[in-house]
Symmetry: C2
Protein backbone atom coordinates (compact mmCIF):
# COMPACT_ATOMS: atom_id res chain seq x y z
CA UNK A 1 0.00 0.00 0.00
CA UNK A 2 1.02 3.53 -0.70
CA UNK A 3 0.01 6.32 1.69
CA UNK A 4 -2.13 9.43 1.64
CA UNK A 5 -1.98 12.42 3.97
CA UNK A 6 -3.78 15.77 4.20
CA UNK A 7 -2.41 19.25 4.87
CA UNK A 8 -5.11 21.75 5.80
CA UNK A 9 -3.36 25.01 4.99
CA UNK A 10 -0.42 26.43 3.05
CA UNK A 11 0.70 27.73 6.45
CA UNK A 12 1.32 24.13 7.56
CA UNK A 13 2.83 22.72 4.38
CA UNK A 14 6.41 23.23 5.59
CA UNK A 15 5.70 20.53 8.20
CA UNK A 16 5.14 17.93 5.47
CA UNK A 17 7.70 16.19 3.29
CA UNK A 18 6.59 16.55 -0.34
CA UNK A 19 9.50 14.81 -2.04
CA UNK A 20 8.57 11.92 -4.29
CA UNK A 21 4.87 12.54 -3.72
CA UNK A 22 1.92 13.52 -5.85
CA UNK A 23 0.51 16.69 -4.31
CA UNK A 24 -3.11 17.42 -5.16
CA UNK A 25 -3.82 21.13 -4.70
CA UNK A 26 -7.43 21.92 -3.94
CA UNK A 27 -9.32 25.19 -3.67
CA UNK A 28 -12.91 24.10 -4.25
CA UNK A 29 -14.51 27.59 -3.92
CA UNK A 30 -13.39 28.35 -6.62
CA UNK A 31 -9.88 28.44 -8.06
CA UNK A 32 -9.23 24.78 -8.80
CA UNK A 33 -12.84 24.17 -9.87
CA UNK A 34 -12.49 27.09 -12.30
CA UNK A 35 -9.26 25.65 -13.70
CA UNK A 36 -10.96 22.34 -14.42
CA UNK A 37 -13.90 24.14 -16.06
CA UNK A 38 -11.50 26.20 -18.18
CA UNK A 39 -9.46 23.22 -19.37
CA UNK A 40 -12.62 21.21 -20.06
CA UNK A 41 -13.87 24.04 -22.27
CA UNK A 42 -10.84 24.33 -24.47
CA UNK A 43 -8.24 26.36 -22.58
CA UNK A 44 -4.80 24.94 -23.47
CA UNK A 45 -2.83 26.08 -20.46
CA UNK A 46 -3.24 28.16 -17.32
CA UNK A 47 -0.61 30.25 -15.60
CA UNK A 48 -1.30 31.23 -12.01
CA UNK A 49 -0.10 34.38 -10.28
CA UNK A 50 -0.07 35.52 -6.69
CA UNK A 51 0.34 39.11 -7.88
CA UNK A 52 -2.47 40.97 -9.60
CA UNK A 53 -0.28 43.18 -11.79
CA UNK A 54 1.90 40.29 -12.99
CA UNK A 55 -1.31 38.59 -14.08
CA UNK A 56 -2.61 41.71 -15.81
CA UNK A 57 0.58 41.96 -17.90
CA UNK A 58 -0.11 38.55 -19.44
CA UNK A 59 -2.81 40.09 -21.66
CA UNK A 60 0.01 41.58 -23.73
CA UNK A 61 1.39 38.06 -24.21
CA UNK A 62 -1.77 36.65 -25.72
CA UNK A 63 -3.44 35.36 -22.57
CA UNK A 64 -6.98 35.79 -21.40
CA UNK A 65 -6.67 37.23 -17.92
CA UNK A 66 -8.77 36.34 -14.88
CA UNK A 67 -8.64 37.77 -11.39
CA UNK A 68 -10.62 37.65 -8.21
CA UNK A 69 -10.03 39.02 -4.74
CA UNK A 70 -12.25 38.18 -1.79
CA UNK A 71 -14.71 36.53 -4.15
CA UNK A 72 -15.12 39.44 -6.60
CA UNK A 73 -13.93 39.87 -10.22
CA UNK A 74 -11.43 42.70 -10.63
CA UNK A 75 -12.16 45.54 -13.08
CA UNK A 76 -10.20 45.36 -16.32
CA UNK A 77 -9.87 41.59 -16.38
CA UNK A 78 -11.59 39.31 -18.93
CA UNK A 79 -12.88 36.90 -16.34
CA UNK A 80 -13.17 36.49 -12.58
CA UNK A 81 -13.00 33.21 -10.78
CA UNK A 82 -16.35 31.81 -11.88
CA UNK A 83 -16.22 28.28 -13.30
CA UNK A 84 -19.68 28.68 -14.83
CA UNK A 85 -18.42 31.57 -16.98
CA UNK A 86 -16.27 29.07 -18.88
CA UNK A 87 -19.21 26.81 -19.71
CA UNK A 88 -20.80 29.34 -22.08
CA UNK A 89 -18.13 29.39 -24.79
CA UNK A 90 -15.51 27.27 -26.48
CA UNK A 91 -12.08 28.53 -25.52
CA UNK A 92 -10.15 26.14 -27.75
CA UNK A 93 -6.60 27.21 -28.42
CA UNK A 94 -6.64 30.03 -25.87
CA UNK A 95 -4.38 30.46 -22.88
CA UNK A 96 -5.43 31.75 -19.48
CA UNK A 97 -3.58 33.72 -16.81
CA UNK A 98 -5.33 33.77 -13.45
CA UNK A 99 -4.73 34.94 -9.92
CA UNK A 100 -6.73 33.98 -6.85
CA UNK A 101 -6.67 34.53 -3.12
CA UNK A 102 -5.64 31.12 -1.85
CA UNK A 103 -5.14 28.65 -4.69
CA UNK A 104 -2.09 30.25 -6.25
CA UNK A 105 -0.28 30.24 -2.94
CA UNK A 106 -0.96 26.53 -2.42
CA UNK A 107 0.43 25.70 -5.88
CA UNK A 108 3.59 27.75 -5.39
CA UNK A 109 4.16 26.16 -1.97
CA UNK A 110 3.91 22.67 -3.48
CA UNK A 111 6.96 23.00 -5.69
CA UNK A 112 8.97 20.31 -3.85
CA UNK A 113 6.49 17.64 -4.96
CA UNK A 114 7.27 15.07 -7.63
CA UNK A 115 4.02 15.94 -9.39
CA UNK A 116 1.36 18.58 -8.71
CA UNK A 117 -2.22 17.87 -9.74
CA UNK A 118 -5.21 20.21 -9.60
CA UNK A 119 -8.12 18.71 -7.68
CA UNK A 120 -11.83 19.45 -7.94
CA UNK A 121 -15.06 17.48 -7.57
CA UNK A 122 -15.92 17.68 -11.31
CA UNK A 123 -12.85 15.59 -12.16
CA UNK A 124 -12.44 13.51 -8.99
CA UNK A 125 -12.69 10.05 -10.56
CA UNK A 126 -10.29 10.93 -13.38
CA UNK A 127 -7.76 12.15 -10.82
CA UNK A 128 -8.21 8.96 -8.81
CA UNK A 129 -7.66 6.80 -11.91
CA UNK A 130 -4.49 8.69 -12.80
CA UNK A 131 -3.07 8.48 -9.27
CA UNK A 132 -3.73 4.75 -9.09
CA UNK A 133 -1.55 4.23 -12.14
CA UNK A 134 1.44 5.84 -10.40
CA UNK A 135 3.55 4.27 -7.65
CA UNK A 136 3.58 7.32 -5.44
CA UNK A 137 2.35 8.52 -2.08
CA UNK A 138 -0.19 11.33 -2.14
CA UNK A 139 -0.60 14.54 -0.17
CA UNK A 140 -3.74 16.66 -0.47
CA UNK A 141 -2.82 20.33 -0.05
CA UNK A 142 -5.91 22.29 0.92
CA UNK A 143 -5.66 25.96 -0.03
CA UNK A 144 -7.89 26.88 2.91
CA UNK A 145 -9.18 30.39 3.53
CA UNK A 146 -6.56 33.00 4.41
CA UNK A 147 -4.46 30.27 5.99
CA UNK A 148 -7.29 28.68 7.95
CA UNK A 149 -8.93 25.26 7.68
CA UNK A 150 -11.95 25.27 5.42
CA UNK A 151 -14.73 22.79 5.05
CA UNK A 152 -14.98 22.42 1.27
CA UNK A 153 -11.31 21.73 0.61
CA UNK A 154 -11.20 19.33 3.55
CA UNK A 155 -14.23 17.41 2.33
CA UNK A 156 -12.62 17.05 -1.08
CA UNK A 157 -9.59 15.66 0.73
CA UNK A 158 -11.88 13.18 2.46
CA UNK A 159 -13.47 12.20 -0.85
CA UNK A 160 -10.06 11.57 -2.36
CA UNK A 161 -8.86 9.55 0.65
CA UNK A 162 -12.04 7.46 0.46
CA UNK A 163 -11.74 6.96 -3.31
CA UNK A 164 -8.12 5.83 -2.99
CA UNK A 165 -8.63 3.45 -0.07
CA UNK A 166 -7.88 0.35 -2.15
CA UNK A 167 -4.39 1.62 -3.00
CA UNK A 168 -3.45 4.33 -0.46
CA UNK A 169 -3.58 3.79 3.31
CA UNK A 170 -4.97 6.63 5.43
CA UNK A 171 -2.67 6.36 8.46
CA UNK A 172 -1.99 10.03 8.96
CA UNK A 173 -4.39 11.83 11.30
CA UNK A 174 -5.64 14.41 8.81
CA UNK A 175 -6.43 11.72 6.26
CA UNK A 176 -8.17 9.54 8.86
CA UNK A 177 -10.32 12.43 10.09
CA UNK A 178 -11.35 13.62 6.64
CA UNK A 179 -12.18 10.10 5.49
CA UNK A 180 -14.58 9.79 8.46
CA UNK A 181 -16.03 13.22 7.78
CA UNK A 182 -16.66 12.36 4.13
CA UNK A 183 -18.24 9.04 5.11
CA UNK A 184 -20.68 10.95 7.32
CA UNK A 185 -21.45 13.99 5.17
CA UNK A 186 -20.49 13.04 1.60
CA UNK A 187 -24.00 11.94 0.64
CA UNK A 188 -25.26 15.50 1.17
CA UNK A 189 -22.36 17.66 0.06
CA UNK A 190 -24.46 20.64 -1.01
CA UNK A 191 -26.63 20.75 2.08
CA UNK A 192 -23.69 20.25 4.42
CA UNK A 193 -21.42 22.74 2.71
CA UNK A 194 -24.13 25.37 2.60
CA UNK A 195 -23.23 25.81 6.28
CA UNK A 196 -19.57 26.50 5.44
CA UNK A 197 -18.33 30.02 5.95
CA UNK A 198 -17.00 30.46 2.41
CA UNK A 199 -20.17 29.08 0.84
CA UNK A 200 -22.12 31.66 2.85
CA UNK A 201 -19.87 34.41 1.51
CA UNK A 202 -20.47 33.18 -2.05
CA UNK A 203 -24.23 32.84 -1.52
CA UNK A 204 -24.28 36.47 -0.45
CA UNK A 205 -22.77 37.31 -3.83
CA UNK A 206 -25.55 35.46 -5.68
CA UNK A 207 -23.40 32.82 -7.29
CA UNK A 208 -25.23 29.65 -6.32
CA UNK A 209 -24.64 28.34 -9.87
CA UNK A 210 -20.91 28.35 -9.18
CA UNK A 211 -21.39 26.52 -5.89
CA UNK A 212 -23.51 23.86 -7.62
CA UNK A 213 -20.85 23.40 -10.28
CA UNK A 214 -18.04 23.15 -7.75
CA UNK A 215 -19.84 20.35 -5.88
CA UNK A 216 -20.81 18.26 -8.91
CA UNK A 217 -18.92 15.00 -9.24
CA UNK A 218 -17.28 13.66 -12.37
CA UNK A 219 -18.41 15.94 -15.13
CA UNK A 220 -15.09 15.56 -16.94
CA UNK A 221 -12.67 12.78 -17.74
CA UNK A 222 -9.80 15.20 -17.38
CA UNK A 223 -6.64 15.29 -15.29
CA UNK A 224 -4.88 18.61 -14.72
CA UNK A 225 -1.21 18.80 -13.89
CA UNK A 226 1.19 21.64 -13.13
CA UNK A 227 4.26 21.50 -15.36
CA UNK A 228 6.76 24.33 -15.65
CA UNK A 229 4.38 26.49 -13.62
CA UNK A 230 1.58 25.92 -16.13
CA UNK A 231 -1.59 23.94 -15.51
CA UNK A 232 -2.33 21.66 -18.46
CA UNK A 233 -4.64 18.75 -19.22
CA UNK A 234 -2.75 15.48 -19.48
CA UNK A 235 -3.59 12.27 -21.27
CA UNK A 236 -2.72 8.96 -19.64
Amino acid sequence: MRNIEVCFSPELIHLHDLQGKIVVVVDIFRATSTMIAALANGIDEIMTFADLEACREMRGKGYLIAAERNGLKIDGFDLGNSPVAFLKDDYSGQKLAMTTTNGTLAISKSSQADEILIGAFPNLSATVAYIQQQEKDVLVHCAGWKGRFNLEDSLYAGALVKSLESTHAAEEDGALAMKSLFEKEGHQLSAYLSKASHAKRLQNQGIEADIDFCLTLDLYDLVAKVENEKVKPISF
Copy 2:
Protein backbone atom coordinates in the same frame (compact mmCIF):
# COMPACT_ATOMS: atom_id res chain seq x y z
CA MET B 1 -26.12 32.36 20.85
CA ARG B 2 -22.45 32.69 21.51
CA ASN B 3 -19.96 31.11 19.08
CA ILE B 4 -17.34 28.38 19.13
CA GLU B 5 -14.42 27.88 16.75
CA VAL B 6 -11.51 25.44 16.53
CA CYS B 7 -7.83 26.09 15.79
CA PHE B 8 -5.94 22.91 14.87
CA SER B 9 -2.38 23.97 15.61
CA PRO B 10 -0.37 26.59 17.50
CA GLU B 11 1.08 27.38 14.05
CA LEU B 12 -2.34 28.71 12.99
CA ILE B 13 -3.36 30.50 16.17
CA HIS B 14 -2.15 33.90 14.90
CA LEU B 15 -4.98 33.71 12.33
CA HIS B 16 -7.60 33.72 15.09
CA ASP B 17 -8.76 36.59 17.27
CA LEU B 18 -8.58 35.48 20.91
CA GLN B 19 -9.65 38.70 22.58
CA GLY B 20 -12.63 38.40 24.89
CA LYS B 21 -12.79 34.65 24.36
CA ILE B 22 -12.41 31.60 26.53
CA VAL B 23 -9.61 29.55 24.95
CA VAL B 24 -9.61 25.87 25.84
CA VAL B 25 -6.13 24.42 25.35
CA VAL B 26 -6.11 20.72 24.64
CA ASP B 27 -3.28 18.20 24.35
CA ILE B 28 -5.08 14.93 25.00
CA PHE B 29 -1.99 12.66 24.68
CA ARG B 30 -0.94 13.59 27.32
CA ALA B 31 -0.15 17.05 28.72
CA THR B 32 -3.60 18.44 29.48
CA SER B 33 -4.91 15.03 30.62
CA THR B 34 -1.95 14.82 33.00
CA MET B 35 -2.68 18.29 34.37
CA ILE B 36 -6.26 17.30 35.16
CA ALA B 37 -5.06 14.07 36.83
CA ALA B 38 -2.53 16.02 38.89
CA LEU B 39 -5.02 18.64 40.07
CA ALA B 40 -7.60 15.95 40.84
CA ASN B 41 -5.05 14.18 43.03
CA GLY B 42 -4.11 17.10 45.19
CA ILE B 43 -1.65 19.22 43.24
CA ASP B 44 -2.31 22.90 44.10
CA GLU B 45 -0.86 24.56 41.05
CA ILE B 46 1.05 23.71 37.90
CA MET B 47 3.60 25.85 36.12
CA THR B 48 4.36 24.94 32.51
CA PHE B 49 7.66 25.46 30.73
CA ALA B 50 8.74 25.21 27.14
CA ASP B 51 12.35 24.91 28.26
CA LEU B 52 13.64 21.80 30.02
CA GLU B 53 16.27 23.52 32.14
CA ALA B 54 13.92 26.24 33.35
CA CYS B 55 11.61 23.46 34.51
CA ARG B 56 14.45 21.57 36.22
CA GLU B 57 15.37 24.65 38.25
CA MET B 58 11.91 24.68 39.85
CA ARG B 59 12.90 21.77 42.09
CA GLY B 60 14.98 24.24 44.10
CA LYS B 61 11.83 26.30 44.58
CA GLY B 62 9.82 23.51 46.16
CA TYR B 63 8.15 22.12 43.06
CA LEU B 64 7.84 18.55 41.93
CA ILE B 65 9.28 18.53 38.42
CA ALA B 66 7.93 16.63 35.44
CA ALA B 67 9.30 16.44 31.92
CA GLU B 68 8.73 14.49 28.76
CA ARG B 69 10.15 14.76 25.28
CA ASN B 70 8.82 12.72 22.39
CA GLY B 71 6.75 10.67 24.80
CA LEU B 72 9.55 9.70 27.21
CA LYS B 73 10.29 10.81 30.81
CA ILE B 74 13.56 12.71 31.12
CA ASP B 75 16.24 11.43 33.55
CA GLY B 76 16.50 13.41 36.77
CA PHE B 77 12.86 14.50 36.85
CA ASP B 78 10.34 13.29 39.45
CA LEU B 79 7.68 12.49 36.91
CA GLY B 80 7.16 12.25 33.17
CA ASN B 81 3.93 13.07 31.41
CA SER B 82 1.91 10.08 32.57
CA PRO B 83 -1.50 10.94 34.04
CA VAL B 84 -1.79 7.48 35.60
CA ALA B 85 1.33 8.14 37.69
CA PHE B 86 -0.65 10.78 39.60
CA LEU B 87 -3.44 8.36 40.51
CA LYS B 88 -1.24 6.31 42.85
CA ASP B 89 -0.62 8.95 45.53
CA ASP B 90 -2.15 11.95 47.20
CA TYR B 91 -0.22 15.06 46.19
CA SER B 92 -2.16 17.47 48.42
CA GLY B 93 -0.38 20.72 49.02
CA GLN B 94 2.33 20.09 46.46
CA LYS B 95 3.16 22.19 43.44
CA LEU B 96 4.17 20.87 40.04
CA ALA B 97 6.42 22.26 37.32
CA MET B 98 6.05 20.50 33.98
CA THR B 99 7.29 20.82 30.45
CA THR B 100 5.89 19.03 27.42
CA THR B 101 6.39 18.96 23.70
CA ASN B 102 3.24 20.61 22.41
CA GLY B 103 0.97 21.59 25.28
CA THR B 104 3.15 24.29 26.78
CA LEU B 105 3.47 26.02 23.44
CA ALA B 106 -0.29 26.09 22.98
CA ILE B 107 -0.79 27.66 26.42
CA SER B 108 1.84 30.33 25.86
CA LYS B 109 0.36 31.17 22.46
CA SER B 110 -3.08 31.66 24.02
CA SER B 111 -2.10 34.60 26.18
CA GLN B 112 -4.35 37.09 24.34
CA ALA B 113 -7.45 35.23 25.52
CA ASP B 114 -9.76 36.54 28.19
CA GLU B 115 -9.55 33.20 30.00
CA ILE B 116 -7.51 30.07 29.33
CA LEU B 117 -8.93 26.70 30.41
CA ILE B 118 -7.25 23.31 30.28
CA GLY B 119 -9.33 20.75 28.42
CA ALA B 120 -9.35 16.96 28.73
CA PHE B 121 -11.93 14.19 28.42
CA PRO B 122 -11.86 13.35 32.17
CA ASN B 123 -13.28 16.79 33.01
CA LEU B 124 -15.27 17.57 29.84
CA SER B 125 -18.68 18.03 31.48
CA ALA B 126 -17.29 20.22 34.24
CA THR B 127 -15.63 22.44 31.64
CA VAL B 128 -18.89 22.62 29.68
CA ALA B 129 -20.84 23.62 32.81
CA TYR B 130 -18.33 26.37 33.62
CA ILE B 131 -18.31 27.76 30.07
CA GLN B 132 -22.10 27.86 29.95
CA GLN B 133 -22.12 30.15 32.98
CA GLN B 134 -19.96 32.74 31.18
CA GLU B 135 -21.11 35.09 28.42
CA LYS B 136 -18.15 34.48 26.16
CA ASP B 137 -17.27 32.99 22.80
CA VAL B 138 -15.03 29.93 22.86
CA LEU B 139 -12.00 28.86 20.85
CA VAL B 140 -10.56 25.37 21.17
CA HIS B 141 -6.79 25.53 20.71
CA CYS B 142 -5.50 22.08 19.76
CA ALA B 143 -1.85 21.59 20.65
CA GLY B 144 -1.42 19.19 17.74
CA TRP B 145 1.74 17.20 17.09
CA LYS B 146 4.80 19.24 16.14
CA GLY B 147 2.54 21.83 14.57
CA ARG B 148 0.38 19.36 12.66
CA PHE B 149 -3.30 18.45 13.02
CA ASN B 150 -3.88 15.52 15.32
CA LEU B 151 -6.88 13.30 15.76
CA GLU B 152 -7.23 13.16 19.54
CA ASP B 153 -7.15 16.92 20.14
CA SER B 154 -9.52 17.48 17.23
CA LEU B 155 -11.99 14.91 18.52
CA TYR B 156 -11.97 16.59 21.92
CA ALA B 157 -12.75 19.82 20.08
CA GLY B 158 -15.66 18.04 18.41
CA ALA B 159 -16.89 16.73 21.74
CA LEU B 160 -16.80 20.23 23.22
CA VAL B 161 -18.58 21.77 20.21
CA LYS B 162 -21.26 19.09 20.48
CA SER B 163 -21.64 19.52 24.25
CA LEU B 164 -22.02 23.29 23.90
CA GLU B 165 -24.50 23.24 21.02
CA SER B 166 -27.34 24.62 23.11
CA THR B 167 -25.38 27.80 23.91
CA HIS B 168 -22.58 28.15 21.31
CA ALA B 169 -23.20 28.08 17.56
CA ALA B 170 -20.72 26.13 15.42
CA GLU B 171 -20.56 28.38 12.37
CA GLU B 172 -16.82 28.30 11.82
CA ASP B 173 -15.59 25.57 9.49
CA GLY B 174 -13.28 23.83 11.95
CA ALA B 175 -16.04 23.64 14.56
CA LEU B 176 -18.57 22.36 12.00
CA ALA B 177 -16.20 19.65 10.77
CA MET B 178 -15.18 18.45 14.22
CA LYS B 179 -18.77 18.36 15.42
CA SER B 180 -19.61 16.04 12.50
CA LEU B 181 -16.54 13.94 13.16
CA PHE B 182 -17.45 13.52 16.83
CA GLU B 183 -21.04 12.64 15.91
CA LYS B 184 -19.69 9.85 13.71
CA GLU B 185 -16.83 8.50 15.83
CA GLY B 186 -17.54 9.67 19.40
CA HIS B 187 -19.29 6.45 20.40
CA GLN B 188 -16.07 4.49 19.85
CA LEU B 189 -13.35 6.92 20.89
CA SER B 190 -10.84 4.27 21.94
CA ALA B 191 -11.20 2.09 18.88
CA TYR B 192 -11.14 5.04 16.51
CA LEU B 193 -8.22 6.78 18.17
CA SER B 194 -6.18 3.58 18.26
CA LYS B 195 -5.63 4.35 14.56
CA ALA B 196 -4.21 7.79 15.35
CA SER B 197 -0.52 8.30 14.79
CA HIS B 198 0.23 9.54 18.30
CA ALA B 199 -1.73 6.72 19.93
CA LYS B 200 0.38 4.27 17.92
CA ARG B 201 3.55 5.94 19.18
CA LEU B 202 2.27 5.64 22.77
CA GLN B 203 1.18 2.01 22.29
CA ASN B 204 4.72 1.24 21.18
CA GLN B 205 5.88 2.61 24.53
CA GLY B 206 3.56 0.27 26.44
CA ILE B 207 1.42 2.92 28.03
CA GLU B 208 -2.07 1.76 27.14
CA ALA B 209 -3.18 2.63 30.70
CA ASP B 210 -2.44 6.28 29.96
CA ILE B 211 -4.38 6.14 26.72
CA ASP B 212 -7.37 4.62 28.50
CA PHE B 213 -7.26 7.35 31.13
CA CYS B 214 -6.98 10.12 28.56
CA LEU B 215 -10.11 8.90 26.75
CA THR B 216 -12.31 8.41 29.82
CA LEU B 217 -15.12 10.93 30.17
CA ASP B 218 -16.07 12.84 33.29
CA LEU B 219 -14.01 11.30 36.05
CA TYR B 220 -13.68 14.64 37.82
CA ASP B 221 -15.90 17.58 38.63
CA LEU B 222 -12.96 19.90 38.19
CA VAL B 223 -12.26 22.96 36.05
CA ALA B 224 -8.66 24.00 35.41
CA LYS B 225 -7.74 27.56 34.53
CA VAL B 226 -4.50 29.31 33.71
CA GLU B 227 -3.99 32.36 35.92
CA ASN B 228 -0.70 34.26 36.15
CA GLU B 229 0.92 31.46 34.12
CA LYS B 230 -0.17 28.86 36.66
CA VAL B 231 -2.77 26.16 36.11
CA LYS B 232 -5.12 25.92 39.09
CA PRO B 233 -8.41 24.26 39.93
CA ILE B 234 -11.22 26.78 40.21
CA SER B 235 -14.50 26.64 42.02
CA PHE B 236 -17.57 28.15 40.41
